[in-house]
Point group: C2
Chain length 170, copies 2
């Protein structure tokens, strides 16, 4: 089976959530998953839960923190180290599904260069399905993908001042 | 905490998947979930997996099968029985999250009437978060919701003739 490339982008809720859902569907079918989290730093309920299934899911966190104007030296060094780790993992293990959560944000903010992103996509084993989330997916990435869903915000309670809630947002 | 209403609609991939992700996030935080599947009949990898966590997730399947032009008598009777069951469950159990998967499709095809749908939304306990998926969410439902994400298909490999695959689509 040839692995395809999915992109979940847009400003609506549901991108990382869909990636978590895909992870559960995959492990429910006995597939092996690498779940890479870019940017995000704190432990969430879903990641804590998934990390219980170590024989099927490997969680790798590249917690650089959010990038505001452009990444600083420390963030760039951190992400370079992460990309090296991820590459080694992919070369060593036969993951059926590779999730790069917030990868599009990492690219659009300059935390990851286009060349680094392309390299990671190139080294993907042919049979692995690749899932990329994050708002602002660049056009060149959309062209490479086999499936692109834009999660479009029609309405969000955040706009009414409701804060992120444990169990629903994290 | 007041429970809010989410709608995930549109023609793109990621709606049920996001509902599965929300379920995992909720149970990862110790919340209790009722996951109702309308229409769909077959067991999927993710549902099989979630059904292992019986103390936190209850799966209820209302397998009427797909509705083509309009629902037949058997399908209408089946869904009426389901709605009665669901109402009883909701009244008896303090679910933190109630997922109505493919509910919008059930409404737009006439399998569930507007009155029946409204009733189910009305009896929701104030503190329960309600998640509704399915393409073609009607306008009156969108108005009731606190969050609406449209999963918009930009590109899908189904359009290239690739079939649904175990571990990715089910």
């Amino acid at each position: 089976m040839e692995g395809l490339i999915h992109i979940y982008t847009g400003d609506g809720k549901g991108k990382t959530t869909a990636a978590v859902g895909l992870t559960v569907r995959a492990i429910g079918n006995g597939l092996k998953v690498l779940f890479v989290q870019f940017i995000k730093g704190s432990q969430t309920g879903e990641v804590e839960f998934l990390s219980k299934f170590q024989e099927l899911v490997e969680i790798y966190r590249c917690s650089t923190g959010f990038v505001f104007n452009s990444p600083d030296e420390l963030q760039r060094q951190k992400v370079k180290d992460c990309l090296k780790d991820i590459e080694e993992k992919i070369k060593k293990n036969p993951y059926d599904l590779i999730i790069l959560d917030e990868f599009s944000v990492a690219i659009s903010t300059g935390l990851i260069t286009k060349e680094e992103a392309e390299r990671l996509i190139e080294i993907k084993p042919q049979s692995s399905e690749l899932i990329i989330t994050g708002r602002g997916a660049p056009e060149w990435l959309i062209e490479k993908a086999d499936l692109v869903t834009e999660m479009r915000k029609i309405k969000h309670y955040f706009d009414r001042g409701i804060q992120a809630r444990r169990g629903i947002e994290y």
